[in-house]
Amino acid sequence: MAVLLIAEHNNKELRPFTLNAATAASQIDSDVHAVIIGQNFAEAAKQLSELPVVKKVLSVEGAHYENFTAENFAPVIVKLAENYSHIVCSANTFGKNLMPRIAAHLDTSQVSDIIKVISPDTFLRPIYAGNAFATIKSNDAKKCVTIRPTSFDPCESTGGSAAIEKVDASEEFSNTKFIKREEIKSDRPELGTARIVVSGGRGMQSGDNFKLITEIADKLGAAIGASRAAVDAGYISNDHQVGQTGKVVVPDLYIAVGISGAIQHLAGMKESKVIVAINKDGEAPIFSVADYGLEADLFEALPQFMEELNKLNTIQK
């Protein structure tokens, strides 16, 4: 039986991690179908049909799907699940909210946040904030799997031409009402997919001081991250949080500024290719994962860093 991938989108276009989830799905079985659920999403459905790994697109449209409420999504996916061996989506807040609801309806024990497909029934996943890796075999007839998007490369985005088939909508779940979504708009790259991330922690001491990080991020074309301490202190909004309960990032370069390196923060960034730590406490745990550590006062180091960057003739973007 084929694998059913749940596409993530914003009713206009596919969200980028759908491509990473598609790669994981195709490693489970080459026969991948994708379901897209929402309202007025023609362009996103077309993008989905052009992914070469996707063999068929199922499209479910309805006003009650506009805001991606799990209580509305789950019944229609449970019905489709009859024809599939696996249900797959990203382990971001969309998938984390939705997949267990599907799994419970299917009486399936979900495998969360996998980082590797070992075989169609066996997966590798981090536990204890990534301080251990567990190999898990699922003995359920149907498998519900969420994938850590940064552990899989995005699939090719063009060249496919899957048929788009309409599927009947399920009934509306009336006990949950969407009110509003406050998305923080930014011209910077998305934190989850950025090549460079510059993150600030409690050491930044105030929200205003984050402008030191913003400047450098703009110069490098980087996304801005933060530790939980910085978000808790109100220096920056929650969508910037990197860590066990925030976002997991795997950039080419991660610059941690004024971040001590608590276990829960390391969980979100220690797979980054190159890690830089700037901290005035030479004993801070962040130095244990840093390729380049600079023991310095960040209020002196960051302006100097900006100056040095300005001296460079070229900066990779």
Partner: protein, 249 residues
Amino acid sequence: MKILVAVKRVIDYNVQIRVKEDGTGVVTDNVKMSTNPPDDNAIEEAVKIKEAGKAKEVVAITVGEEKAQETVRKALAVGADRGIHVKVDGTLEPLAVSKILQKIVDKEKPDLVFMGKQAIDDDCNQTGQMLSALLNWPQATFASKIDVKDNKLEVTREIDEGLETIEINVPAIVTCDLRLNEPRYASLPNIMKAKKKPIEEIAASDLGVDVSPRLEQLKVEEPPKRKAGIKVANVAELVQKLKNEAKVI
């Protein structure tokens, strides 16, 4: 209103865990254990709602082995009225836990069930959503703000893109984020008082729920270690290394 709050006993968040040499799991003997951090937020929120006169009773429940009862006792010390301990041997998958919680909900008939959004041991992030599916109740996951309005809750959820606000009708499930509130510490007099509060013990086997495992943990291993890095003397050296050695800028 009556609020049921589920709490889990896990290895304390400050402990650097060690993987067992035989690959069967992580070392838990003689390791400090405590309540799963966001479960503390769930208890705190329920107690605050009761203190605001919007709930009559807060019941703390745990599903686990003998010592898991410590987490219920701690919840009683910070304001829960009574406890329930569903006893099981070993660890259960979230699906099994949610089936047990469903049985308890059928019996206790709470208006709200709160719990942490994720346990920091298995990092599954499933139980609340699964319970909500089994009961066909609305779910508000990753809650960072809860307003109780008669028979509705307005909940702000932390999502990847920012914040989302939804309104759910009671009865409902809420899974709590660490930013929901600041959990209080138990005072000594309250710890003493909590010892007199009742905890009902129920054997999981008496609930008639199939809790047999569906997943096999074949192996637990250490993640690959990063190679040791270097300290640089100053910012100029750092930028040169990033440019010429790591070639990332």
